[in-house]
């Protein structure tokens, strides 16, 4: 690999933009990433689909058009849950193997219109159900910080691609933490927008009342840039909020100045605080407390806040999400797209459907469909699904009460650092616990960002900042302040410099 290639793939997007404005070509930048993918993705397996010729042709087209502004010419990777016209899209499932969607998701269309270059589609837990990307039907993705560990999930292909320098940034989706948790475990910034503020049109649905697409990036500023490119009202999504997107890039820039005086920060007791630290690693809690102290040193007023209903978030989520999934996944019936199994002329529609779904879905998807079917069935509906929806109301009330007194809430993003591959695959409950801290914001529909706060045992720890609905700008402001302060404390260019140093010393 040439020196210039390695330079390009360690640049932040604002630096790539500057290079493009200064005469660098999208073809050279795109080729640098494709070379990295060629060299590294055999081991990482971050991508499910890469078409180098198409990417280079697209980059050449952008170069020829001569537009040097905005995101024109910047490469991007998309999680494979985002449908892309003519480009294979599987959502990590065998049931969609070989399917080429006939249209673009709004997120993909907006990035295309902005002049970005699609590098490829990234691996994920099947239908976004999982916290480790081990539920993909197409093999596991490895964590660039330690190839024997998970990259998080379900957006683990996106997190591994960006942390590993195989994409400058990527789109993820978050239903219960699937942007924030993999970002935390790979040392990235990941933001789950306010529900309804980024279009769901063309995202293969998992749990429709929770799913949101958002940015995964090397820096807070990059995440804000990507968020602004995809966000805003879309008439094709009936849950899209018809309100202007807050200004995010400017907020990230101002936040980096580091003045948080007057900002009221609430530390959520139920997420790792006194009496609620079971399952949390000491190293994670230490890094979190140091992050809180750093916010305080920049002028923030910190207090502890109690949100009692958060203790039931995991139970409510694992009823609501499987229930919605069991309904959403009914569309995979072997008739309109994807796999069909056993259609020999003798078997009827029901049998073919059951054989198709049996062959096409993996174990976690089947478990959740069965659980959701149970929770929605007559006689159990009120006790499970109905009760979970009421708990969801209680969680929203806890957020509202907390935001009467504070501007943002903070917690660790995950209870532990990245765990070893295989450690939790046979224990669904242990796997679900990886989402403990991210579920409340998902259920309440409020925005939340994860920003690296440090290392524990040499592995990244994520710091979560939650804000009221439509106040995504607060997440970016506070995250940018923390990022800038910690970067200054370390004296490097950014958090991922530590990964480069680790890889340098290992080789």
């Amino acid at each position: 690999m040439s020196a210039i290639n390695s330079d390009v793939t360690s640049m932040n997007v604002d630096e790539l933009q500057a290079a493009l404005a200064d005469g660098a070509t999208s073809v050279d930048i795109t080729r640098a990433y494709l070379d990295r993918i060629e060299a590294e993705d055999g081991e990482l397996r971050a991508y499910l689909h890469v078409d180098p010729e198409a990417a280079l042709a697209r980059a050449a087209e952008i170069d020829a058009a001569g537009d040097r502004s905005g995101l024109a010419g910047v490469p991007v990777a998309l999680k494979d849950v985002v449908v892309t016209e003519g480009v294979p899209t599987t959502s990590g499932s065998k049931i969609l193997e070989g399917w080429k969607p006939p249209y673009d998701a709004t997120v993909a269309a907006r990035l295309k219109a902005a002049g970005t270059v699609l590098l490829g589609k990234t691996n994920m837990d099947e239908f976004a159900m999982g916290s480790s990307t081990e539920n993909s039907a197409y093999g596991v993705t490895r964590n660039p910080w330690d190839p024997e560990r998970i990259p998080g999930g379900s957006s683990g292909g996106s997190s591994a691609a960006v942390a590993g320098g195989l994409a400058p940034w990527a789109i993820g989706t978050d239903t219960g933490g699937s942007i924030r948790q993999p970002a935390a475990l790979t040392g990235l910034v990941g933001h789950k927008p306010t529900y309804g503020s980024v279009s769901r049109f063309g995202l293969i649905a998992f749990s429709s009342s929770l799913d949101q697409a958002g940015p995964m990036a090397r820096t807070v500023l990059d995440a804000a840039l990507l968020h602004e490119a995809i966000g805003g009202h879309d008439p094709l999504d009936s849950t899209s909020i018809d309100a202007p997107l807050p200004v995010l890039v400017e907020c990230a820039r101002r936040g980096a100045d580091g003045d948080l005086s007057g900002l009221r920060v609430g530390v959520v007791r139920e997420l790792g605080g006194d009496g609620h630290a079971d399952g949390y690693e000491d190293g994670v809690l230490e890094s979190f407390r140091a992050g809180v102290a750093r916010l305080e040193s920049m002028g923030a007023e910190v207090r502890e806040v109690s949100c009692p209903a958060f203790d039931l978030a995991l139970a409510a989520y694992y009823l609501i999400a499987p229930s919605e999934a069991s309904s959403n996944l009914a569309r995979f019936d072997g008739v309109r797209y994807g796999l069909r199994v056993g259609d020999d002329g003798a078997r009827d529609l029901d049998e073919v459907m059951a054989l198709t779904r049996e062959a096409g879905f993996g174990p976690e998807v089947k478990r959740r469909i069965i659980l959701g079917t149970y929770a929605l069935s007559s006689g159990y509906y009120e006790a499970y699904y109905g009760q979970a929806q009421k708990v969801r109301t209680l969680i929203s009330r806890d957020f509202s009460a907390a935001y009467d007194d504070v501007d943002v809430l903070v917690s660790p993003t995950t209870p532990t650092v990245a765990f070893p591959l295989g450690a939790r695959v046979d224990d669904p409950i242990a796997m679900y616990a990886a989402d403990l801290c991210t579920l409340p914001a998902s259920l309440a529909g409020v925005p939340a960002i994860s920003v690296p706060s440090g290392l524990s045992d040499g592995l990244p720890v994520g710091f979560q900042i939650m804000a009221p609905a439509l106040a995504d700008d607060r997440c970016y402001r506070v995250a940018a302040a923390l990022e800038a302060a910690l970067t200054n404390d370390r004296g490097d260019r950014g958090f991922l410099d530590q990964l480069a140093a680790r890889q340098g010393s290992a080789s």
Binding site: S209, L312, A315, Y318, V335, D348, K366, R367, E382, G445
Partner: protein, 105 residues
Amino acid sequence: MSTPSQKGQLSRDEVAHLAHLARLAVTDEELDLFAGQLAAVLDAVAQVGKAAVEDVTPTTHAVPMTNVVREDVARPSLPRDVVLAGAPAAEDGRFRVPRILGEEA
């Protein structure tokens, strides 16, 4: 309204019935595996029953939702052959489905 299941109450037969309802032709090995795992999951999610929810309204969506209607204007849809190109079987410009009637029909 029923009370939440006790631990282990989701039997192998119940899982088989639910799989049938969901059109999943699960194997015997899967039934053995899922029955144990789902009993543990059900035990965990039954915690929602602990919450005091008198006078609490359920939340279906976290943001206020109103019915959305658009102007009644015809717009082009995807071309038929483009859509059928993704189907597992098509015939005469339509989706071809497996047999839907029994032998006696």
